[in-house]
Amino acid sequence: MLGYALRRVLSAIPIVFITIAVCFFILRLAPGGPFDGERALPPDVLRNLREYYNLDKPLPLQFVDYILGVLRGDFGPSMVMRDFSVARLISIGLPFTLMLGFAAFAIGTAAGLIAGALAAFYQNKWPDYLLVFVVLIPLVIPNFLMANLAQLVFGVYLRWLPVGGYQPGAILNLVMPVLILSMPHGARVARLTRGSMIEVLGTNYVRTARSKGLGTRLILARHAIKPALIPVVSYLGPGLSYLLTGSLVVEQVFALPGIGKYFITAALNRDYGLVLGTTILYVFIILALNLLVDIVYAWLDPKVRYR
């Protein structure tokens, strides 16, 4: 088990390196730079800026410098939001994004599991049909539309919830964003759970358990849950990384102070340092979660460990 985990960790290192390299060079090949704006800068100022930000050296040398910096934990300065380092910007926004993502993950996963199990249990009866229909809605309506509709209905017309903004401690301001964010995730979990649960409930060993005279609740809890969870667990890793990295639309619409907006504006402004910093963070989150899922997977299914 430990060896397996170690192998997985080591194999992640080249992936991180390759991602940084690809991102670094693509970013530099794209036309436009961090100092291009509506107003042209005088050539001398531009030269000084390029020198200050280390942009005047040959590209491969800049890359080596950047990698050495990252290894020391230094992600450099933001080139557009002066006075801020990349690490500082991320440390301001990341806790909020993590909180938002984990809350949506917990709620979505719990609701999805329960709904999926119920639908499987009542397969082809009305709760199942209702659920399959309801679950489709967040999958076909995009986030931003859903968010705007929710703002109009619950914020403007009914006035039940605040429409946007956030201050530490304002839990009510998080209700809509978290629910909107959790819905597509919950829907996918529900569909997966329903599918795999139906499959498990049809297997020979469940039939055997039933013929032994075991009650439904006991069959579900003792025999059906664990094998039915395997496909769901393999989705949870990508699902969580999607929630943590994909909350930018929700953050934007609800005016929340996460890192999503940095990522968007940094890419548009050609803020090289900030784009790379957020990309590395996202890659790290995705890799770490995939790793975690693989380990849980190995625990759930011993066959995986020896493959």
Binding site: P31, G32, D36, P42, I92, F96, Q252, A255
Partner: protein, 329 residues
């Protein structure tokens, strides 16, 4: 937990005018999504919006009468023409392009927020600019006749519907810029100009304009300070650098006229504001008569102000200090 989504300002006890201040606390919310910001306004969470989606102007006028403020703002939206290359070095081609733009429809119809048509280079309301606003004669000629004249100018320059002028129009990616570009390329089509639209994000767009790598491009200038020289300086000849290259600054179109530069120099040395305004007017007329750029509209400021707020006065700089405002509950 981390930071909130707004800046908060409170009345300072050491501020000399604190007794006159009516508002004790202000929150500046940074909301990038304009539709969402409007939703927050409608729910009563925000009292003032400093922008709103143009396509919601009609809705606001119908449902929140008097709350959407649209007022002239010191800035000009224009198209630059690259005069360092043929055929836009030809003043008649530039003239044909400029006079065939029907500016009256851009603000009210294309954008829907009533921006005012621009024919000159210094926005109305600019300080230190006594005298009549520049208005070319062709502006009062009926549009059909202008189109006919433009057609003739184009055919004199060798461009006919059979062998049209093929041109690229660049703009930075934005819904409003796109609408205007589509409308204007349609206006140019009738005088025998085939336009290829090309959009890129802001950094790429201005990179191309700076490098002179374009034919016609969208640009805008919001005045840094209220003075006519702030826009007129954009049309000065570039400055030769030590390495022999030219620094054209913000003069993307590379318009160059020695007489214009002389007038600007003279104005810079003139201490009498009235005389200085005269020189600047002369410079403006000179550049506009040569179609140095195609001004399209004067910018407007767009605010939404709750009826609870008093003391918000529309002005050309769009600066409204909270110290002069009051809020009733």
């Amino acid at each position: 937990m981390g930071a909130g989504s707004y800046l908060r300002g409170v009345k300072s006890e050491t501020y000399y005018g604190k007794d006159a201040l009516q508002i004790d606390e202000i929150r500046w919310d940074n909301t990038e999504d304009l539709t969402a910001a409007l939703n927050r306004y409608r729910a009563g969470e925000l009292d003032i919006l400093t922008d709103f989606p143009a396509d919601q102007y009609k809705f606001l006028q119908d449902n929140y009468p008097g709350q959407a403020h649209v007022a002239p703002f010191l800035g000009v939206y224009y198209y630059v023409m690259n005069q360092s290359k043929a055929p836009l070095d030809n003043v008649n081609v530039r003239k044909a392009l400029s006079i065939s733009v029907l500016r009256d429809v851009i603000g009210p119809d294309v954008l829907g927020t009533g921006e005012l048509p621009a024919y000159g280079w210094v926005p109305p309301g600019t300080s230190n600019y006594e005298g009549e606003q520049y208005m070319p004669e062709w502006a009062s000629v009926p549009y059909d006749q202008r189109v006919e004249e433009a057609k003739k100018l184009m055919s004199d320059a060798g461009f006919t519907p059979e062998s049209p002028l093929k041109m690229q129009l660049r703009y930075n990616t934005n819904e409003n810029h796109q609408r205007i570009a589509v409308a204007i390329s349609d206006m140019w089509k009738q005088i025998g100009v085939e336009v290829e639209l090309f959009n890129a994000e802001t950094a790429v767009h201005y990179d191309a304009l700076n490098a002179g790598d374009f034919q016609v491009g969208r640009a805008g200038w919001l005045l840094d300070y209220s003075d006519a020289s702030n826009t007129l300086d954009l049309l000065r000849t570039g400055i030769k650098q030590a390495d022999g290259t030219m620094n054209w600054g913000n003069n993307y179109g590379r318009y160059s006229n020695a007489k214009f530069d002389e007038l600007m120099d003279a104005a810079a040395k003139e201490l009498d504001l009235g005389k200085r305004a005269g020189l600047l007017h002369e410079a403006e007329a000179l550049a506009m008569d040569e179609f140095a750029v195609i001004p399209i509209y004067w910018y407007v400021s767009k605010n939404v102000v709750s009826p609870k707020i008093t003391g918000f006065v529309d002005n050309a700089k769009d600066i409204n200090r909270v110290r002069w405002m009051t809020k009733s509950e």
